[in-house]
């Protein structure tokens, strides 16, 4: 299939099981949101998917088993946007973005063509005006968009994002999610972790709901999974559900 398939992923630190039997599949063009409380293993699951950790089980992208690939070939299939990036040196934004060409470049220095690709990626995420700024001086939202641009420059089949909306204001969250929807619509499978079930429902084709210690409560469409029962079960919160224009909104009762 064209897309990504995870089959029975398991991961533990010592005896401490973090991920249990995570299985899902996602077509190119779809968005999967991983939901669950803090510390339930969302980041760990993402790192199992892109092999930063060594999980048991299989991950297939376009039917290729990722365990058989070296770092470079893997980077051509999969981009990763971390939750936090601590900048080291004051690089220009454009140089940071063009570093996404590394898998294609190997040991050579980027050419004008690579810079062109990087500039286009900045245009696509709507921050082309930042190209010559120091990336150490960006706001949280700008930095996130720049890192998404860098991942796009890799021209991946699958894009992983660890809490792309964290630390962002009300508007920037929506901007980031809209851009992710567009990216998916261009035929990339997008997998992200997310805290807000409403935001997840807004853009996701599928959600994966986790409880503590990697217990997977459910996997399917947002409507199927984000039910009152499941939310109460996972978060222990009393909630109320509103339906409006075919969409469902979840509010906590104070």
């Amino acid at each position: 299939m064209s897309g990504i398939e995870a089959i029975e992923l398991c991961f533990s630190y010592g005896n401490n099981m973090i991920i249990r039997q995570a299985t899902f599949e996602l077509q190119a063009g779809e968005i999967l949101s991983i939901l669950g409380p803090n510390g339930c293993g969302k980041t760990t699951l993402l790192k199992c998917i892109n092999m930063l950790l060594k999980p048991e089980g299989k991950v297939l992208v376009d039917n290729i088993d990722l365990r058989t690939l070296n770092a470079r070939d893997l980077a051509m299939l999969m981009g990763y946007v971390p939750q936090m990036h601590s900048p080291g040196f004051p690089y220009r934004v454009i140089d940071v973005v063009v570093s996404g060409r590394t898998p294609q470049l190997g040991f050579s220095v980027p050419s004008e063509k690579d810079y062109e690709i990087a500039r286009n990626a900045l245009v696509r995420v709507g921050v082309s005006h930042l190209a010559d700024k120091f990336y150490t001086q960006l706001s949280g939202g700008e930095l996130k968009l720049v890192l998404i641009a860098r991942a796009l420059v890799q021209e991946p089949k699958v894009l992983l994002l660890d809490e792309p909306t964290s630390h962002l204001d009300f508007k920037n969250r929506i901007i980031v999610l809209k851009i992710l929807r567009e990216i998916a619509d261009d035929g990339i499978a997008v997998i992200m972790s997310e805290h807000d079930p409403n935001l997840a429902s807004l853009v996701s084709d599928k959600v994966l709901l986790m409880r503590s210690k990697g217990d997977i409560v459910g996997y399917g469409s947002p409507k199927e999974i984000l039910t009152p029962d499941n939310i109460v079960n996972v978060y222990g919160l009393n909630i109320e559900i509103f339906e409006r224009g075919g969409s469902r909104y979840i509010f906590p009762i104070f």
């Binding site: 790192k47 892109n50 930063l52 070296n70 770092a71 470079r72 070939d73 893997l74 980077a75 051509m76 999969m78 981009g79 990763y80 971390p82 990036h85 601590s86 080291g88 040196f89 004051p90 690089y91 220009r92 140089d95 940071v96 570093s99 996404g100 590394t102 898998p103 470049l105 040991f107 050579s108 220095v109 980027p110 120091f134 150490t136 001086q137 890799q154």
Partner: protein
């Protein structure tokens, strides 16, 4: 609109001109300083006839070809090695406060030299250099080995391990110094003083090949070095084999610096200062910064050694000059950089 575009256009071309001028100046500067370096000194070499200088059997020829020239070349190779090694180590470890010396190269080399002098005496001085290189590499390997904590290899753990290893080798060095005869202690102390006045063509022949190999290797890796500074997980997801490539970069930097230190002794601060001066001049752009650090390092050493030969009526070891210039300069650059980055 047209005027705005014009202003933007001229601003761009000005920027273009500025960066190209900087590049040209940086490329030329080591050669300009080399010419100045060769023409100044206690003895006034007669440059009126180049032919006579190069081919006649005169004292001018001896001073020029056998004293000044090898010393100038070693100064340049030393500066170039320290410049690019410092820049590479700082970048791969994502830490502007480290240098190859921090990883234990200087104390390892000093220990190796002392050990060789203690065992074989100063008559087999040719053994000092390989011993210095060998123990510099031993020290770096130890640092890297110790810094791998639970399979993790973090910038902070590298620096801490470097401090531990340096302390260990300094302690062992002191032990050697008190155990051997006083004359050997003197030789050891004389070796450790960072200096270039002892340099002959033989020293250049010993140190240059490995140093140049290291420099070229680091230049070849400059893009990967930049990507390594994105952090381990990001570098990995950009297709870098993080552990292996970082080790390789540190190994190349160690080889380059250890091989020059083995003939000059411990000349401090250059590997820390040269990268910062370079960033100050050309910015952090990875494609430009590493090559530029070669040129900045070489120029810095030529200037420092010129001062060491000329400011007093006897020679001041260049290591003292680099420290006196280096410490306040580093403070200034750091304050400026911190101001600019945050």
């Amino acid at each position: 609109m047209a005027s705005v575009e014009y202003i933007q256009y001229s601003k761009q071309s000005l920027e273009f001109l500025r960066s190209n001028l900087t590049r040209a100046a940086l490329t030329l500067s080591p050669f300009i300083f080399l010419i100045i370096y060769l023409s100044v000194g206690k003895y006034n070499v007669d440059f009126s006839s180049l032919h006579q200088l190069l081919f006649s059997d005169s004292i001018d020829r001896t001073i020029f070809l056998n004293i000044r020239l090898p010393r100038a070349i070693e100064a340049m190779i030393f500066g170039a090695s320290m410049g690019i090694s410092g820049a590479s180590v700082q970048t791969t470890l994502k830490n502007p406060l480290v240098s190859p010396y921090f990883l234990g190269i200087s104390s390892g080399a000093a220990f190796g030299a002392a050990l060789s002098i203690a065992i074989f005496g100063y008559k087999s001085f040719f053994l000092v250099q390989p011993a210095a290189i060998l123990f510099a590499l031993v020290a770096v390997s130890l640092t890297l080995g110790l810094s791998k904590f639970r399979g993790q290899f973090t910038p902070v753990s590298v620096v801490l391990a470097g401090i531990i290893v340096s302390a260990l080798f300094s302690g062992l060095l002191s032990l050697i110094q008190i155990l051997v005869e006083p004359e050997k202690t003197q030789t050891i102390v004389a070796w450790m003083i960072g200096r270039l006045y002892t340099i002959t063509w033989a020293d250049v022949r010993v140190s240059a090949p490995l140093a140049i190999l290291g420099i070229l290797g680091l230049l070849y890796f400059r893009w990967r070095i930049f990507v390594l500074s994105m952090g381990d997980e990001e570098a990995k997801s950009l297709g870098i084999n993080v552990e292996r490539e970082r080790l390789l970069v540190i190994f190349l930097a160690s080889v380059a610096t250890a091989s020059v230190v083995s003939v000059t002794g411990i000349i401090g601060w250059v590997c820390l200062i040269a990268p910062h001066v370079t960033r100050f001049l050309v910015g952090s752009d990875p494609k430009v910064m590493l090559p530029a650090s070669i040129s900045v390092g070489a120029s810095f050493m030529l200037i420092a050694d010129m001062l060491s030969r000329t400011i007093w009526n006897f020679e001041i070891p260049v290591g003292i000059i680099t420290t006196i210039i280096g410490a306040p300069l580093f403070l200034y650059l750091m304050r400026r950089a911190l101001h600019e980055w945050h």
